[in-house]
Symmetry: C2
Subunit: 191 residues, 2 copies
């Protein structure tokens, strides 16, 4: 059985805590769904936040819904633009010891102490997908993307299994560019 997975590119973005939404956009502000994402319940918001680093700043989209902790996901290219050093490649939620930066919204600013990561490439899948593929939560696999100029096999891809997920691999913009993975792209999981 061929283990095919759609490969989606995540541009830089931010997840916000309810408290930081209040500070940045005003007390009691509700995030506005602009577009549903492939993962059930997740959406890109109309709201944007400015990230201010030691060297530069970048506007990023907010992804909803609110989360327990604010987390910024960048590419290495973005980290360099901002002047942030030692941004770790991590799984979502694993932000301990990561750098912070200043967030600027229309209603206020937040000095984020930590929470800036480069997302480790990963595949979301349901338990049924995992069983069909013979894979387990947290398993590390490789994924092959083929085209006519930049075919690439990405190693260190973390499998994440939950019935709240939909089957999709997520890479960042540097990884997308390196593999020429533009448009609708599928990868093959090499276990």
């Amino acid at each position: 059985m061929e283990k095919k997975v759609i490969v989606e590119t995540s541009a830089r973005h931010i997840h916000l805590s309810a408290a930081d939404v209040d500070t940045l956009f005003g007390e009691g502000h509700a995030l506005t769904n602009k577009k549903d994402l492939s993962q059930p319940g997740q959406f890109a918001c109309e709201e944007k936040v400015e990230l201010v680093g030691p060297k530069g700043s970048l506007k990023v989209s907010v992804l909803g819904p609110e989360r327990k902790a604010t987390q910024v996901e960048l590419s290495y290219t973005d980290a360099r633009t901002l002047g942030l050093k030692a941004v770790p490649v991590r799984e979502s939620g694993d932000t301990s010891g990561s750098p912070g930066l200043k967030l600027v919204g229309p209603a206020g600013e937040v000095e984020l102490a930590e929470g800036v990561i480069i997302a480790k490439r990963h595949i979301h899948m349901t338990t049924a997908d995992a069983e069909a593929f013979g894979l387990q939560d947290k398993q590390v696999v490789s994924v092959k993307i083929e085209n006519d100029s930049r075919s690439t096999i990405f190693g260190d891809v973390v499998v994440r299994v939950s019935d709240s997920f939909a089957l999709a691999m997520h890479i960042d913009t540097d990884e997308c560019n390196a593999a020429g993975a533009f448009g609708v792209v599928y990868g093959e999981i090499l276990a």
Copy 2:
């Protein structure tokens, strides 16, 4: 035999024709060697040129010596910053039908009609290296780069053989970021 090769990252840069050096830097100007590169006779210059695209501009280093034709080598990230679409992934020198842009130097400007490419990843090697590795000029190979977070196998890597070369693989900044290939990095050629 393990086929090891050092992996070097080429940031965006420009090679200039003698005529374009004259226009950009002044009649009879000689390029100034700032730093020798790994390929014999090639050097990074003190001179910089501004690339002006439809959406933005970027400063790039000039690489010497002068060449027959002016050629700009970007990453996909750079192409997006400049607003250039359909920049092809090509081998050096193969610029037919590629986009152009405006070059701005201290003494003048050049409207480059074509010559902007994204360099296809490649390995420079001597005939002795090629014999030792059992590889040939223009052969397409894969190269594995291993580390603890972004191990990657790059396919579509072109072998280029000449006794004027030194053994080194060249990738662009997007590819470097995608593979976490910072510092002194070696890859293994998988033929």
